[in-house]
Symmetry: C2
Subunit: 497 residues, 2 copies
C-alpha cells in the first residue's frame, strides 16, 4: 500500500485550558488595569514587570497553597539542564526581584505588577491555565501603616472604578488567630512547629465558613466532617473546649470595630502574640478611620483568615456586595475579587534575612466580570467603526479619503476591503463589525457631490419593529453633501437624526 | 562527618537572557503601546490577545527565518504528551486564530496584537529571550489597498508618536523580485521549486545590502564572499550576466516613484509575475499619493526585500532617519523599527485553503529606545511622588492625611513608611524615589499649623552649584500654612517658587 504522502494538517486549536481574547475583552481589561495603575501610582507605587519565565529554583517548585499541593507549574529544562518555569503568581517573582536588586531599590519598596500567570492545573469551566493578576505590595517595612495603606488604596481602586458603596474590605490578623490557637492549646510559642498540621486544618476550616457554615467548621475543628456525597474529611482533632475557643474567635465580630477589638482582646488575653495582633488591628482601624474609611468600606472581621499558609500578620479580603443572578437564577452577592496580607518570609528564602512585606492581589478576570455585570445595559463601550462601502472598485482612493477624513475628526472608520461585487456582503460585514453607520457613494452620488449615510442601528430597530409608523420621521438612510459628511456623521453618532 | 543540614539557598537571578523592567521602562512602553493601539483602532483594527502558550503543532516547531534554522522555541510536553511551546511571534498565533474562528470573524479580519514573544536563542548584549512585538494584520483579502492601508497606518503611528519627518517607509514587492529572478533565469514559473535554494541566497544577500554594500552583495550572488575574518560564505552561483540583472534591480530606484516603477517595468518586461508586481506597486503608490503620503514618507525602494521566506507580495520596512550616536561615538541613522509584508500561506497550513494576508510588526523595544533618544533632555516623563516625611511616628494619621490631600488634587504622594528615626535616611529615600518635593511637619510646625516644603530638585542644584549667590532668592525650603499646602505644592511642581 502506498503511503499517504499528504502531511497531516495541524489542528487549529488553543491548548486545553487556554483561550483567545477578542476586541473589547482585551480593551476593557486594558482600560480597567490602566485605571488601577493610576491609583497605585498616585500612592507612590512603581511599576515592575518581571519575565514570564523564572528558574524553578527561584520560583519554588509548587504553589504556596497547601490546599492543593500537587498542582504545579509549567516547567522545562533549558540547554544547560537548568529547570525553567512560567510564573504562577506575581509574589514569588517580587521576592526574587527584591533579593536580587535590593541594593538599588528604595526601602520600603512599593511596587505594582499586572500581567498573566500560568497554572498547570486541570482546566474546567471558567478555569483557565493562563489568567491575569494585578498586585500591589510594599516590601521592607514592618509598620502596619503599610497594611492600612494597602486597604485604603484598594478602597480607592474600587471607588475609582465606579464601585463606591458596592464593596467591603475585611481585615483580620493572623497574630490574633495564632493568639487564639495559643489560648486553645494548639500553638506553643516555644515550639512553633508543634501542632502545625492541626493549625493548618483549623485555618482552612475557618476559610470555608461561607460555604460550610458554623456547624461544618466546628466538625472540621473536631474529629472531622462527612459531606453530602458521603466523603469524610478528617478534622483537626480539637477537643470540644478547644473548638469552642476557635468558634468564639470566628464569632467575635461586633457592631463596631472598637467592640470587635475589645472582644478579641478578651479572647487572646493569655497570649502575647494575640495581644500584639489586636494592637495592630487597633492601629489599622484608627489610621483608616482618620482617613475617612468607615466600617461600611473597611471592617475588622475575625472570620476572614485567607487560606494561604504564608501570611504572618494582617490579612485582607475584598468582596463586591451587589447582587448578580447565578447560573441557577438565584440572586447572590458577587463575592470576593481581591485578597492579600502580610508575609515576612518570602525574601528570606533567598537572603536568609527576614524582609517584612505586605500586599494585595486582584483577580482581574473576576473584577472585570463584576464591572461588566454592573454596567450591563449601559451604552456599548467599544463601538464598531463607521464602514465606508465600495461601490466602484476603481474609486478606492475616494473611499479611503472618506475614511481618512472621519479618522482625522476622531471617528473610527474603515473601508470595506473584501470583494466589493456583492453589496449585501458589504452590509453583512458592517453588521459583523457592529458598525453604527455605513457610508455609500456610487457613481450617481459622486456626480451630484453627495454621499448616503445608512444608520445601521436604527435600521436594525426598524427591521425588528412591527410597525413602520413610529419610524416615519427618522429615515434609516440620509443623503448629505460630501463636504458635510464629517459633521453629519458626528451628529448621527451623537444620536441626533 | 555530619551532613550540612542547611538547604542551599536559591539564587535570586532571572534566567539567562531574561530581564526585569522597572518603573518608567514599564509605563513608557505601556503609554507608547496605548498610543499605537489608538491609531490601529481608528483604522478599524480590533484587539486580539492569544495565550503565551500554543501547541507546537499549531505554531510550527521552528522560526520561519531561514537564516537561523536552528534557533528554536521554549517547548515542553504536557501531561497528555502533547508538545506545548511559548509563541515566538504574533503572526503564527494569528494564523491559528483565523483558521479556528474564521466562521465567526469578519472577512477581511483586521486585528492588532501587542505582547511578549519568546525565543530560545543564545542571549547576548541587548538581545533578550523575551521581548515585545506589536503587530497589525489584515487577513482574508488580496487587494493591495490593504497593503497601502498598512503603510498609511504605520506612517500615522509614527506621526502620532511625534516622529513626523523622522521616518521613511520603504515598499517593494516580492513579485517584482521574482520577475527579475525569472528574467535572470533562476525562477521557472512552471517549476517553482527549482532554484529555490539559490533564490534564498539571493534574497538574503540583497537584505544585507546596507551592511555589505553592492560589492558584497554581488559576491554573494556569484561564487561567494570571504569576510574580513577570512570566513567564506558560499554564494548563489549566478553567472556575471545573471548577477548583473539582479544588481540592476537593486539599483532601480529613481527620483520619483513613477520613474522607479518605469525602470522596474523595463527590467521585468519578460515576466508575467514581474509585471503584476509592478502594477501592484503602481496601485499602492497611487493610493498613498491620493491620501497625501508623499515619497518623503513612503517610498518605492527596490533594495528593500525583507529576509523572511514567507512573503509573497508587497513588503514594507520602516526606518527612523534621525541621527543618534552609537557605542563608538559615531553619528548614524537610528534605523529599522518595523517591517512586514504580504503572506498568503500561513493559514493554508491549517485549512488547505490559501488565505491572503498582510501585516506589519513593530519592534517595540527599538521604537521605545528611539522615542527616548528623541526626547532626551525633555522633562522627565515619570516624576517621582511627593514624599511626606515622618517626624513623629505617633502622628502617622496626620502624615497619611497630607498625602491623601495631595492625591485628591491629582498629585502623586506617599508617606515614608521605613523606620523614621533617622531623618537623613528619609531624605536618602526621597532622593532614591526621585521625589521633587518633601513635606516636613514636626511638633513645632504642627503647633503653629504650618508645614515645611523642601524642593529637592532645587536643593540638588544648589548643592551642585559653586556659588550660593544665584540661589539666594529661591530658597530650597519654604514654610506655608497647612491649609495652603496643596496649592503651594501644585505651584512648586509647576516651577513657580
Amino acid at each position: 500500500m502506498a503511503k499517504d504522502k499528504t502531511p497531516r494538517r495541524p489542528r487549529a486549536e488553543t491548548p486545553k485550558g487556554f483561550r483567545d481574547y477578542f476586541g473589547s475583552d482585551v480593551t476593557d481589561r486594558a482600560a480597567m488595569l490602566a485605571t488601577i495603575a493610576g491609583v497605585y501610582r498616585s500612592y507612590g507605587f512603581e511599576a515592575l514587570e518581571t519575565p514570564a519565565v523564572e528558574t524553578v529554583e527561584a520560583l519554588g517548585k509548587f504553589l504556596p497553597d497547601v490546599d492543593r499541593p500537587n498542582e504545579g507549574v509549567f516547567a522545562w529544562q533549558d540547554e544547560d539542564k537548568d529547570w525553567l518555569a512560567l510564573r504562577y503568581d506575581l509574589t514569588a517573582p517580587l521576592a526574587r526581584v527584591y533579593a536580587q536588586h535590593r541594593a538599588d531599590l528604595p526601602t520600603p519598596y512599593r511596587r505594582y505588577a499586572m500581567g498573566p500567570v500560568w497554572r498547570n492545573e486541570k482546566p474546567g469551566p471558567g478555569r483557565f491555565r493562563q489568567f491575569y493578576q494585578c498586585d500591589a505590595d510594599t516590601v521592607g517595612t514592618p509598620t502596619v501603616a503599610a497594611d492600612a495603606e494597602i486597604c485604603a488604596m484598594l478602597a480607592d481602586v474600587f471607588a475609582t472604578l465606579g464601585l463606591g458603596g458596592d464593596f467591603i474590605i475585611r481585615v483580620n490578623n493572623r497574630k490574633v488567630l495564632n493568639g487564639v490557637m495559643e489560648v486553645a492549646g494548639v500553638l506553643d510559642p516555644d515550639d512553633p512547629e508543634k501542632f502545625a498540621h492541626e493549625r493548618g486544618i483549623v485555618l482552612r476550616a475557618i476559610d470555608k465558613l461561607d460555604r460550610l457554615g458554623p456547624e461544618g467548621v466546628r466538625a472540621l475543628l473536631g474529629p472531622g466532617r462527612t459531606d453530602d456525597s458521603g466523603d469524610f474529611t478528617r478534622g483537626a482533632g480539637l477537643s470540644p473546649d478547644q473548638a469552642a475557643i476557635v468558634m468564639g474567635f470566628i464569632a467575635a465580630r461586633r457592631d463596631s470595630s472598637a467592640a470587635t477589638l475589645a472582644r478579641l482582646a478578651e479572647l487572646v488575653s493569655g497570649s502575647d502574640m494575640g495581644r500584639q495582633g489586636v494592637a495592630e488591628l487597633d492601629t489599622i482601624a484608627a489610621l483608616l478611620d482618620a482617613q475617612g474609611y468607615g466600617p461600611d468600606r473597611i471592617v475588622i472581621d475575625p472570620a476572614t483568615v485567607r487560606g494561604l499558609g504564608y501570611y504572618t500578620g494582617p490579612v485582607f479580603e475584598a468582596e463586591l456586595t451587589f447582587e448578580v443572578t447565578d447560573d441557577k437564577g438565584r440572586r447572590q452577592q458577587f463575592g470576593s475579587v481581591a485578597g492579600g496580607g502580610r508575609y515576612d518570609d518570602l525574601v528570606k528564602r533567598f537572603t536568609g534575612e527576614a524582609v517584612p512585606a505586605t500586599g494585595i492581589s486582584i483577580g482581574v478576570d473576576r473584577l472585570l466580570a463584576a464591572l461588566r455585570a454592573r454596567s450591563r445595559g449601559d451604552a456599548r463601550t467599544d463601538p464598531g467603526p463607521v464602514v465606508v462601502t465600495v461601490m466602484d472598485r476603481d474609486r478606492m482612493a475616494d473611499y479611503l479619503a472618506i475614511a481618512a477624513d472621519l479618522r482625522r475628526a476622531g471617528i473610527r472608520a474603515e473601508v470595506y476591503l473584501g470583494n466589493p461585487k456583492n453589496f449585501g456582503n458589504q452590509m453583512k460585514y458592517a453588521d459583523k463589525r457592529a458598525a453604527p453607520l455605513a457610508i455609500i457613494q456610487g457613481a450617481e452620488e459622486q456626480a451630484r457631490g453627495v454621499v448616503q449615510i445608512k444608520d445601521l442601528v436604527l435600521g436594525a430597530e426598524i427591521a425588528a419593529s412591527a410597525t413602520l409608523e413610529e419610524w416615519k420621521d427618522r429615515p434609516a438612510q440620509v443623503e448629505c453633501p460630501r463636504a458635510d459628511l464629517v459633521a453629519r456623521v458626528r451628529a448621527m453618532l451623537a444620536g441626533q437624526p
